[in-house]
Every structure is written in structure tokens, then in C-alpha cells.
């Protein structure tokens, strides 16, 4: 099932000379992790905002083409009521995503369910489960604003996981996380996809995502130029032509003059270079 579909979608921010996204066509399926990447300013963040309906509703500006999120046009006036609680959005700086009114981590995680008017008992059990899943149950009584960046990002993830969303939109979610936090995030995304949610993650962390994502969509100059299995794409030359690049070892291999298909991991590199 297609959870998110862009059809020739474009977007121009107010006052901007050039569009941030132009005639962009791609789709994200339920039950899969779609990895969105591109050179700086390629429009991956804008694509996520369009999918959530936040552009143009919050940002102003002009959208063209069609976007369908969970079957509705997210820019429709009635969309927030339909999509509320079904779409999760995770951004890179955790501090700016806290509710601002929670005195404890448990209250923070309960913020969205309470806003949606869930019954109290349901909120409490869902909050406990979400904190458990992110390994932050021991922080339940802490003031979220005093946590470290990594802990805070886990709280933000729990605050979305609690909703059991049908669509995850994540924008560079790992930049505040250490390697253990990254591994945990990837586990969560895998299990969310297994549950049937669609996961769209915009990231330039090739080392982390090449083995996690089911699909790689590369944006360049505001439109989708590549779409395929990450393992295949990252070994080849097309990602380089699109201005993206590969994993660390894949990058080393290219600089060292190795022809495609190139190694992507340390193990593959050792195998390639110890012949």
C-alpha cells in the first residue's frame, strides 16, 4: 500500500527566487523504510514538510503538483484533523521539539495523546510502553529540558512512537545520537516498518542507513533522480553523479580508484584489498 505519493510535486518558499522542489515524483510504501537523501539543499527537508502538510500551511509559499499522504491531500484545510496523530515528524534538534510544558519525561511523552483526548488509562499504558521501547523508563520523572541531547532525542522519538503512527517522517534524526542511540533508532524503525507503518527518513548518514533502509530515493536539484535498493545504488557511480556519495568505505574505494561495484563495509573492504 502506498502511504505517501509525490506526483510532479513542486514547492517554492515565499520570497525565494528558485523552487526548493520541482516536479518531484516518488512514493513510499507501508511496511518499508524509504531513505531520502541528496546534496545540501536538495529539498529532502522540504519534501518531508510537504508530506506533513506543514508546507505550505506553516511556511507560506506555493505548492504545485499533487501530494497524497495516507490517502489525503495534506494541504487541505481538513487534513490536520484527519492526519493528526497518524503522522509522526522527527527533526534533528531535539530541544526545539519538546512540548515546552512538560515537567517530566512521562508528561512529555503523554503530550500528544492528551491533546488528542485519549482516555487516561490508555495514555498511561501507552506512555509506559513507548518509554520502555526507547530505553528511557528510568528517566520518566526527570525534567526533559535537563537531559543530554541524545536522551532528549530518545524522548522525542518516544513521544511519537506512543501514537503508533501510520507514517513516520524523520529529518536527520541521528545527528544528536551516539552510536548506541543510532542502533536503537534503527531497531525501532525496523520494528515500526514490520508493524506496517511507512517510514521515510531523510538522512546523509550512509554508514548507518545503507543496511537498514529498503529503498533509497536520491533528490538532486529538487527532483528525484534515483530510486532503488540502497545496496545497489551505493556501490555504483550514479550516486556520485547526483552529488551524494556512499558509505565511508565506499567513498574511500572510489577515491582509491576502485571501479563499481565498490565495497561498502569494513569487511567488504578488507576482502577487496587483501587479495
Amino acid at each position: 500500500m502506498t502511504a505517501l505519493a509525490f506526483d510532479e510535486a513542486g514547492f517554492t518558499y515565499p520570497g525565494a527566487a528558485a523552487p526548493a522542489l520541482a516536479q518531484c515524483t516518488f512514493a513510499a510504501e507501508a511496511g518499508a523504510i524509504t531513505w531520502l537523501t541528496g546534496p545540501l539543499g536538495a529539498g529532502t527537508s522540504t519534501a518531508l514538510l510537504l508530506a506533513a502538510g506543514l508546507a505550505p500551511r506553516h511556511t507560506g509559499g506555493h505548492r504545485s503538483g499533487a501530494v497524497r499522504t495516507l490517502g489525503v491531500d495534506p494541504a487541505e484545510p481538513g487534513a490536520p484533523a484527519i492526519l493528526g496523530g497518524r503522522v509522526a515528524l522527527v527533526l534533528s534538534s531535539p530541544a526545539a521539539q519538546l512540548s515546552g510544558i512538560a515537567e517530566t519525561v512521562a508528561q512529555e511523552v503523554a503530550f500528544a495523546p492528551a491533546n488528542l483526548g485519549w482516555p487516561r488509562e490508555r495514555i498511561h499504558s501507552a506512555v509506559d510502553r513507548a518509554m520502555e521501547a526507547l530505553g528511557i523508563a528510568h528517566l520518566a520523572a526527570r525534567d526533559p529540558s535537563t537531559l543530554s541531547g541524545g536522551e532528549m532525542q530518545r524522548v522525542v522519538l518516544a513521544a511519537m512512537l506512543v501514537l503508533r503512527p501510520a507514517l513516520w517522517l524523520l529529518d536527520e534524526p541521528t545527528s544528536a545520537l551516539d552510536s548506541a542511540g543510532r542502533a536503537l533508532l534503527h531497531d525501532i524503525l525496523r520494528s515500526e516498518a514490520a508493524r506496517g507503518a511507512a517510514v521515510v527518513v531523510a538522512s546523509e548518514d550512509a554508514d548507518g542507513l545503507y543496511a537498514v533502509a529498503d529503498r533509497l530515493v536520491v533528490l538532486s536539484g529538487g527532483c528525484a533522480v534515483l530510486d532503488g535498493a540502497p545496496q545497489d545504488l551505493l556501490r555504483g557511480d550514479a550516486v556520485w553523479d547526483a552529488g551524494v556519495g556512499s558509505t565511508t568505505i565506499g567513498t574511500l574505494a572510489r577515491v582509491a580508484g576502485v571501479d563499481a561495484p565498490r565495497p561498502l563495509t569494513v569487511d567488504e573492504g578488507v576482502a577487496r584489498w587483501t587479495r
Binding site: 518558499y13 515565499p14 520570497g15 525565494a16 506553516h58 511556511t59 507560506g60 509559499g61 515546552g100
Partner: protein, 189 residues
């Protein structure tokens, strides 16, 4: 209320309450405790500015004592004037910002002197009151002393606040300018 205002307003109010401590480091006779109000009015309209100024005053009262609540009226007046200035491109130049700042300082000073005299018998914030005491000592009558000192300090403070907001908004990054269409009008673009 939309999520954008829920995000903007606490920041504007917190700026009102916190900036005094920052400016204090320079030892200038400035409070700038209406700068968040002015900014909110310029970016999102006078009603939003009034909300920032009003709620800010309530919280200031909660922390410092509710005797100061009546001065919320002054914040509302400042928001209205900043909104008016913004709609007339009043922040286009330093000179125009200064002119609106002086006008606001004049009216705000007049209103606070009335509040200060009627409700507080002339004794309010330490700086203002020190000036009042000084003027009383050289023989001015209380109402005149209160009015003169309020006007003096408010003229300086509001001019500085308007000049600063004008400088900030004229130099606003394009991205933020695009998000706040009123800001572009405030600086005549």
C-alpha cells in the same frame, strides 16, 4: 490558536522577561522589557503583540509581585503603536524607527506616570523612583516629578527598543522574512 503562534509567543514573552538581565551587563539605563512585545507586534500583528505584552506582565507579576500588573496597560499601548508603526513601514530607516520610538516613549511615559502617580504614589521601579526623588529634592511637585522621570526614561528606553527591533528586522535573513510577511511591510519592502 495555531501552532505557529504557540511557538512564537513564549519566545517573545521570555525575551521581555530575560533581556533586562542581559542588557544589565552593559550598565546602560535601559530595560528593553518591551522588546519581545514590539517584535511580536511587528512579526505577527498588534493583537499578537498585545497578547505577548499582557501575558508577559502577568508572569512578571507572578514572579516579582502583582503590584506591577497595572503596567500591563503600558505593554498593550506599546504593542498597538508598534503594530501601527509596522503597518506604516515605520521600521524602514533608523530615523523612522527612532521617530516611532520617541512617540511610543512619550505616550507610554505619560500612561505610566498616571499609573505611577495614582496607584503607586510615585514609587515604582528603582531607577524611575530615584529620578523622581531627585526632582522632588530640587523642589518639583510630585506629579510633575513623576511625569518628567517617566517620560525621560521611557523616551530613552522605547527609542532604543524601536531602533534595535528596526535594525534586527531590516537585517532579517530572507528565510525568516519570508515566514513573516508583516515584517517585510514593516521595513517597507
Amino acid at each position: 490558536m495555531n501552532a505557529r503562534l504557540l511557538a512564537l509567543l513564549p519566545a517573545a514573552i521570555a525575551i521581555n522577561l530575560v533581556i533586562g538581565g542581559l542588557v544589565n551587563a552593559l550598565g546602560l539605563p535601559l530595560y528593553l522589557d518591551s522588546i519581545g512585545t514590539i517584535l511580536a507586534a511587528v512579526l505577527a500583528g498588534p493583537a499578537v503583540g498585545m497578547l505577548a505584552g499582557g501575558i508577559g506582565q502577568v508572569l512578571f507579576g507572578l514572579i516579582n509581585g502583582y503590584q506591577w500588573i497595572p503596567f500591563g496597560l503600558v505593554q498593550l499601548l506599546i504593542a498597538a503603536l508598534a503594530g501601527l508603526a509596522a503597518s506604516r513601514a515605520g521600521f524602514r530607516l533608523p530615523s523612522s524607527s527612532l521617530a516611532w520610538g520617541l512617540l511610543t516613549g512619550l505616550l507610554a511615559g505619560a500612561l505610566s506616570s498616571v499609573l505611577s502617580y495614582v496607584l503607586f504614589k510615585g514609587v515604582t521601579a528603582t531607577g524611575t523612583t530615584a529620578v523622581v526623588t531627585l526632582l522632588r529634592q530640587v523642589g518639583w511637585s510630585l506629579p510633575v516629578a513623576v511625569t518628567a522621570s517617566s517620560l525621560l526614561l521611557d523616551l530613552v528606553d522605547k527609542s532604543a527598543a524601536f531602533l534595535l527591533v528596526g535594525a534586527l528586522v531590516r537585517a532579517l535573513p530572507l528565510r525568516m522574512m519570508g515566514r513573516f510577511p508583516r515584517a517585510a511591510r514593516a521595513v517597507g519592502r
